[in-house]
Amino acid sequence: MAQASDVNFAAPVHRPKAQWNQRTIAPWLFLAPGLFMFAVYVLWPIVQSITLSLYDWNGLYNKDGAFTGTFIGMGNYAELMTDPAFEVSLWNNFYWLALYLLALPAGLFIAIFLNQTVRGIRLYKSLFFFPFVISQVVVGLMFAWFYAPNFGLFYLLTEWITGKGTAILADPDLVTFGIIAAGLWPQIAYVMILYLTGLNNVAPDQIEAARLDGAKGWKMLWYVVLPQLRPATFIAVIVTVIGALRSFDLVSIMTSGGPFGSSRILSYYMYEKALSEYGFRMGYGAAIAVVLFAIMMVFISGFIWKMWRDEKER
């Protein structure tokens, strides 16, 4: 131990002092504006929200600018435990998460379908990617049209098959699945483009070698191709999970959480509690947001951990 520190001290830095200083200060000067903005708008609000979740606050201030909230400790969280709307939202979030992962096989399937070199294939790939480029507000309106009772194609289709049309957005049991299907549309497009890029970089010699060994179809996909697509799969899982938990636009546009609150998810329920006609319950809203944040943190930590491992390997 003593030897090691001796060595460190014994190795003087052979640099002019001014330059050394410049190189110590420079990164902080480059970081300052970005770090400042990020701290003010992202990091500090997280701390504030967590604190706020321990208060009962209607979002107002006194005339002299004093905060009007009252500290209630874990009160908001205790209320969440018995709030049926919170339970519905949590379950719906779970459905979103589980069903959104269908974007992976579906995206892979389309990517494999399109990974050919025929005329015009580039245009096909771009057009298949289209849904991701469009705003979710527009996607929501498109699917609302598709699902519309009496004339919507989905309604007509169910009428033709079962003899009775299903107005999916008005059905409390099915509405969430209808919205998830709308969300899957752009998400599949995103996963598809990730896999197309991945497939482009699969080592051709390994494929040829496996082919000579008689590997075909499913076996080839499972044992040779998928292992090479692992980086694409990892990114796809991350963006899909985050996308599922973040979704807000579609619920807001297509149903506003209805009918009877049955399509609420945590992100929307939080907004409803804190900012809509249901009352400005900022503290309660913050508590819902903290729960969502905690769920997200599980996945974010996983991602960071993987990145950290990759960084160390370099």
Partner: protein, 281 residues
């Protein structure tokens, strides 16, 4: 190549593939095509229940109507006022943060980097109440700059991740050589690194443009009126007024989708490069 190139298959299979491509595309884009066609259908057709039959004419007047009778043009301009400053702001800030994190090996480097990455993934709702409150306190509620400032800060997270990895992949010898020559650090940034960043700047610009143009949540949280609401929020409130007037809803939707779609088509290569970063090793 996987799957096996279709050219090596039988003629029958090749024919099948050639036919399957357009059919699958039409099915895939069905909601989009349906809405695009509805946006050009006369209101009288819809009133008579003619939703999918031959339209009685092409109704450009739907588009004329939404431009003249609703503030949709103003909403589009508002969107540009938020989107363009955000693209410039987030890209410039992240060029600097990315440079700092890629080039200098200081102690807190990896910690700050991971903080940017993690912040980029947090749910918006955890930021909502404090950010809205702060924007109100600063008198920036319901203004384009109040919205743009938040977007700049938030997008800096994702952009830093991108820029840092991009600069890391540049040959470090360039910077070493300049340092040996005694070039100042900011000059290294400006004259050596920045000119090499063009592809990264292009990729991030189109991505951020699309993300911000399509943002709905912050538009509803931080803006309210016709004077500052971007198109996504505006379309949502128009949708509330146009109950079941699907020819107008469709025309508005197509209009709102147009700018990012045009951006994507013009800058396709950069867009995809930005989006698939990390999908290959």
């Amino acid at each position: 190549m996987f799957p096996r190139p279709i050219q090596q298959s039988s003629t029958g299979a090749q024919w099948l593939y050639t036919i399957a491509l357009p059919i699958s595309l039409v099915i895939w884009l069905f909601p989009l095509l349906g809405v695009a066609l509805t946006s050009l259908r006369p209101a009288s057709d819809l009133a008579q229940g003619n939703y999918f039959g031959m339209p009685s004419g092409i109704a450009w007047e739907n588009y004329v109507y939404i431009f003249t009778e609703t503030p949709i043009g103003q909403y589009m301009i508002n969107s540009l006022w938020v989107t363009i400053p955000t693209v410039i702001g987030a890209v410039s800030l992240s060029l600097m943060t990315g440079f700092a994190l890629a080039v200098y090996g200081f102690r807190a480097n990896i910690l700050i980097f991971f903080m940017f990455v993690a912040g980029n993934f947090v749910p918006f709702q955890i930021l909502m109440v404090p950010v809205r409150d702060m924007t109100l306190q600063l008198g920036m509620y319901d203004t384009w700059y109040g919205l743009a400032l938040f977007h700049i800060a938030f997008q800096t997270g994702f952009c830093t991740l991108f820029m840092r990895n991009f600069i890391k992949a540049l040959p470090f010898e360039l910077i070493e050589a300049a340092r040996v020559e005694g070039v100042a650090e900011w000059r290294i940034f400006w004259y050596i690194v920045l000119p090499l960043m063009r592809p990264a700047i292009a990729a991030l610009s189109v991505l951020v443009f699309t993300f911000i143009w399509n943002d709905f949540f912050w538009a509803t949280v931080l803006t309210q009126g016709v004077d500052s609401q971007p198109i996504t929020a505006g379309l949502s409130s128009l949708n509330g007024q146009w109950i079941a007037q699907w020819h107008l809803v469709s025309a508005g939707s197509i209009l709102a989708a147009l700018p990012p779609v045009a951006m994507f088509f013009m800058m396709q290569k950069h867009f995809i490069a930005g989006l698939t970063m990390g999908a290959v090793k």
